[in-house]
Every structure is written in C-alpha cells, then in structure tokens.
C-alpha cells in the first residue's frame, strides 16, 4: 500500500543568514516529512536552528536552498503576499508570548485571521465564538487580554490558530511563559485538538513537554540529530488541591 503524500515535506533545506560580513548557516540541509495527524515536537538548544526551521515550516521565511512542499504545493519560492495567503488558509500560529492585540476583545483577536481571509462579519462572529468555546473560554468572549490569566490568553491564541480550520498548527514554545500546572492544561488542550485530527508542530526545549508529542525531532547545529516516534504521555491537568499542596 503506497504511503500517503506527506502534509509537510522538506527536501535538503538550508538557510544562510548574512549578518554584515559573517555568514550564519542556521540550517545545513534538513529533510523531513510530517504526515497528516502527527504531533511533532522539535527540540534543541538555543542556536540549534530550531527557530529557523519553525519559521520556514510556518512560511514566515523562505529557505536559501532546497524545497519545501506544504500540502503538496512547493512554497519555497513564493512571494510575500502569496506566503501570507498560505499562512492565512493553511497554518495557525501559537507563540510563547501569546501575541494577542492589547485592548482588543478575545472575540476580535480570534476573528483576526478571518478578517484577512475575507470572511463575512456574521460568519466571523460565529466561528470565533465556536473556537473560543472549544478552548473553554465560551464565557469570556468580550474580555480583553489584560483581564485574563496567562493560561487564558494562550487559550485565546490557540482559538485564533484554530479558527481558520488550518491543516497545521505551529506552536513556538507555547508553555514557555506559563507555570507547570497551566502548561499541562495547555498541553492537554493540544492533545485534544490532535486527537480530533489536527496536525501539530511544537517547538520546545523542555523534555517533559516534548513527552506529550507523538514524535520528537532533535535539532543540533542546523541538522536533524534524531527523529523518533513515541507513545505520547497523556496530559492530565492536576486537580485543584494537588496544585496548591
């Protein structure tokens, strides 16, 4: 039986930055494939090239050489606005610092990708509300980021990533600014999304966070050092009393 076409396929991707006279080779030939429905954790120390890899996978940056096929389409030579459209329709982003618009309600934050996708106002409201309900914030639609905890803000960010029904959600250190209890809650939410069929790619440097993924990729010096499938640990949010103990 032939293998399904991969959702993400990187073929010998390199990335070279020029900082003044110095050439920084952030990626030195990365090839990898991610199938639909995988939950991939990319690990590596700072300077390993994992952020560069994430930026290329997220269509925020283009490879210097090599090819990147997203959902069967070669996106490695597309222009700025074409990449913006791909990000809008195919990808969802979750950041370490949440990156919500301040003084803007949860609803409006979540609606943002739909606004640029040309979705009608009524449809936008419906889908934003649906996404917020899905991440457990159905009762906080009109709250502003400064009225919410870090965990809640990250949930809004996840709802924003979800709302355009992307093929892949990319999360860059999503638990980096959260305490361990909230981190587990967020990971539980990611696992829930994964089980419902969404493909996830997550960058982290914490092994206990990577343990919740179905596949762990370790990047070092711009190359993939190891690539292992694993049985994911199940994220179980701690009950209240244990957390306070």
């Amino acid at each position: 039986m032939p293998e399904r076409a991969p959702l993400l396929a990187l073929e010998d991707v390199t990335k070279v930055y020029r900082m003044g006279d110095v050439e920084v080779r952030a990626l030195r030939g990365v090839s990898l494939q991610v199938q639909q429905g995988e939950f991939v954790a990319i690990m590596g120390s700072s300077g390993s090239g994992k952020s560069t890899l994430m930026n290329i996978v997220g269509c925020l940056d283009r490879p210097s050489a090599g090819r990147y096929l997203l959902n069967g389409q070669d996106v490695s030579r597309l222009g700025r606005n074409e990449l913006a459209e791909i990000r809008n329709r195919t990808l969802g982003f979750v950041f370490q610092t949440f990156n919500l618009l301040s003084r803007t309600s949860a609803m409006e934050n979540v609606e943002l990708p739909l606004l640029y996708g040309g979705v009608s106002t009524k449809e936008r409201h419906r889908r934003a509300q649906e996404a917020l309900t899905r991440v457990g914030l159905g009762d906080r639609l009109e709250h502003h980021p400064n009225q919410m905890s870090g965990g809640q803000q990250q949930r809004v960010a996840i709802a924003r990533a979800l709302v355009s029904n992307p093929k892949v959600i990319l999360a860059d250190e999503p638990t980096g600014n959260l305490d361990s209890r909230t981190s587990i809650e967020i990971m539980a939410l990611f696992q829930e999304l994964w089980r419902s069929g969404i493909t996830l790619v997550l960058v982290t440097h914490e092994p206990d966070i990577a343990a919740y993924a179905s596949r762990v990729l370790v990047v070092k010096d711009g190359r993939v050092q190891s690539d292992k499938k694993q049985e994911p640990e199940i994220a179980r949010p701690l009950p209240e009393e244990e957390a306070t103990a």
Partner: protein, 408 residues
C-alpha cells in the same frame, strides 16, 4: 479585507490613543482654520475696497486742471485753471465714449441753520453730477437743470451736514445760510460712507453751479475753478474715453506735439484694479503663511505615524503572521493618517468659518467665504494625510514578520 473593515481597524487604533490623535489632528485643525480665516479676511478686505470704489461712481474719470509754475516751483495739479466751460461742452458732445460729464466747483464754507453752524465743503455742479456718482436723494429731491439755468438759491445737503445742523429733524424746505446768503434745502443725499482714503463723503453740500459762481465764488468766469467728473459708457470704455478726452483737450488748448498736458485725468477704474491687485497679493500672502502651518501639521502626522508604527511593530507582526498582506498593512496605516488629517480638516473648516465670522464682525467687513477654498482645504488636508502617511505606512508594510514578532 474591504475598505470598511480597514477603516474600522484604523478607527479603533486612533480611539485607543484619543489624546494623541487629537493633538496630531490639532496641527491640521490650526492649519486649515488659518487658511480659511486668512482667505476670508483677504476677501473681506477686497470686497471693502471694491465697495469703496463703487461708491465713488461708475466708470469714473476725473479731469483736473493744470499746474502753475512760479519761479520753477510746481503748484500741483489744479492750482491753475486751464479747463473752460467750453471744454466741458466739447467733452459732453464730442467724445463718443463719454456718457455724461459735469463740472464740480469746490469751496470751503460755513453753513448755518437757525441755531447751529457747520464748516463743510460746498460744491457747485449740475444734476448730471449725481448721476455720474450714482448718488440719489434720500429725502426731498435733487436740484434740476432749470435751477442751474435760473441760478436758484437751493441746496442739497449730505447726511453728515444734516446731522450737525438739524439733528433728527427733517431739513427739507428749511432755510440755511451759506456765506450769509439764504438757501432753501430741497433734498438730502443718501448716505455714501467713506472714500477709500477714509474721507467722509457725506460731509458736503451741493448748490447749482451758476448759483455757486454768482454767490459763493463770485463773478462769472471763463475757466472752471474745479474739476470735471466724467462717466464713461462702460468700465472697458474708461481707457478709450481717457485717450479721446486727452486728444480733444490737447487740441482745444493748442498744445504742441511734445509739450506736457496742461491737465490730468485720473482713471478710477484703473485705480480700483490697482488696489484690488494689492489686496489680492495680501490674500495670497496670508494664505501662503497659513499653508505653511498646514504643512507643519502634516509633518506632525508623519511623526506620530512613525512613532505608532514602531510602537505597534509586534501588532504588525501578528497581523502578518495570521495572513495580512502588504497592502492590508499599508491601507491600515494610510487610513489612520487620512482619518487624522480629514478629521482635522473638517474641524479646521468649522473653526475657520467661526473665526472668519468673528473677525468680519469685528472689522465690520462682509463675511466672505469662498467655497472653493473650503474644497481646496479639504483636498489639501487629505493630500497631507496621504503624503505624510505614505512613508510610515510603507515602512510598516515592509516589516519582516519574523523581526516584527520578535520586536520588544
């Protein structure tokens, strides 16, 4: 994303910084209101000059007799009588561009009513004069040609003289004494106001020219001891009338080719247009100064937009990450700049109109607002918004999303 949505995003951003938005727009408010008020002032001044010249008479030429020279010193125009009554008749009948002409003899004299007296200018003229100056009677009537022919002792008074001699009483039919000779008041002239030089037109009295010669000046004379007022057929005909009269008088006075005129002609239409040019220059100058403040306002917008772009680098990064295209970001910041400048422009128009109205009331000028200036002001402020907003907006739209997301 359509224009409406872009506008909403831009308006929200401006709302978040109300004070800053207001101060930024203030530059444009001041600029636009200054332009509107300044142009209104200039137009008001122009209208006043026009009014003043119109009140002097229509298509007016004034002929002054020549100068005397005594020991090399010029006595000035009018110091030597060179114009004769025959000259006047010739001008009336032989110059086609002339509608009518009248001599005005002038003398300072004291006028007495029963209990008051007042020193004013007494003029001797013919009824044509009132027609040339478009100066009707407010009460009673003007004297007639038969009064002139008969040398009747009748007088028409200016409003100022009436006020001084009779107060609020009706002077028509009353007697006044000029140089101790009794005259009957037959009419009062309409109030005419001030000359462009600020002289009171209404401080005057008119008697028939024959009576003037016989009773006020003394002795019939060949020469006109005064000036001739001429009305040309049309404003365009004034220059032609001037040339024709010059030719006629030189001919009649037997002046050799190359010798100077022994009279001079003042063309009021030309003087009026010279004055108007002056006020036009003033208007342009005021508007130019005001336009500079509009420019400064535009730079203020650019400054704040640049700050805003830097401040919101992360927001721009997020918008790009979730799919905003270059032109979405460009449009957002352009609309912000445009909103600031247009709002400033509209408030500025309101303030400018208000200011112009108050100034007009203060100086007693007509309030003149040119609609084209309002359109220009709105257009210019929009242009300022786009012009000065373009650079910051382009800067925002060209940010690298990765850099922008990382910006602290």
């Amino acid at each position: 994303m359509n224009f409406l949505q872009t506008s909403r995003v831009a308006l929200r951003a401006l709302q978040r910084n109300k004070m800053r938005s207001f101060l930024t727009a203030l530059g444009i408010i001041i600029g636009v209101s200054a332009v509107i008020a300044m142009v209104a002032i200039g137009e008001g001044a122009k209208a006043r000059v026009e009014q003043a010249f119109a009140s002097m008479g229509s298509n007016l030429l004034i002929i002054l007799p020549g100068t005397t020279t005594r020991g090399g010193a010029f006595g000035g125009f009018g110091s030597m009588p060179t114009l004769t009554w025959e000259d006047l008749k010739a001008i009336q009948s032989e110059v086609p561009a002339v509608r009518s002409a009248a001599a005005v003899l002038r003398s300072a004299a004291q006028i007495m009513s029963e209990d008051q007296n007042w020193s004013t200018t007494v003029n001797g003229t013919s009824p044509d004069y009132f027609d040339i100056r478009s100066w009707p009677a407010a009460r009673g009537s003007l004297f007639s040609q038969s009064d002139v022919e008969g040398g009747n002792k009748v007088v028409v008074l200016g409003q100022t003289v009436v006020d001084k001699l009779f107060g609020s009483a009706d002077p028509v039919g009353q007697m006044v004494r000029i140089k101790n000779i009794p005259f009957q008041v037959v009419g009062v002239l309409e109030k005419k106001g001030q000359s462009p030089q600020g002289q009171d037109y209404d401080d005057t009295a008119f008697v028939p020219q024959t009576t003037f010669q016989a009773k006020v000046q003394g002795g019939l004379q060949k020469y006109i001891q005064g000036t001739i007022f001429v009305s040309a057929l049309s404003p365009e005909a004034t220059a032609r009338a001037q040339t024709e009269i010059t030719g006629l008088l030189r001919d009649r006075h037997h002046l050799q080719l190359g010798s100077d005129d022994d009279f001079s002609i003042r063309n009021l239409t030309e003087m009026a247009s010279a004055q108007q040019e002056g006020t036009n220059t003033l208007t342009t100058l005021l508007a130019a100064i005001a336009a500079v403040s509009l420019l400064v306002g535009g730079i203020g917008i650019m400054n704040i937009m640049l700050v805003s772009v830097t401040e919101r680098t992360r927001e721009i990064g997020v918008r790009m990450a979730v799919g905003a295209k270059t032109y979405n970001i460009l449009a957002q910041f352009l609309v912000e700049a445009l909103t600031l400048s247009l709002a400033g422009g509209i408030i500025g128009i309101a303030l400018g109109l208000l200011g112009a109205q108050r100034l007009a009331a203060q100086f007693g000028w007509p309030m003149l607002v040119r609609p084209d200036i309002i359109l220009i002001a709105v257009g210019f402020s929009a242009l300022v918004g786009v012009g000065f907003g373009l650079y910051p907006a382009r800067k925002a739209s060209r940010l690298d999303p990765i850099e922008a997301l990382r910006y602290e």
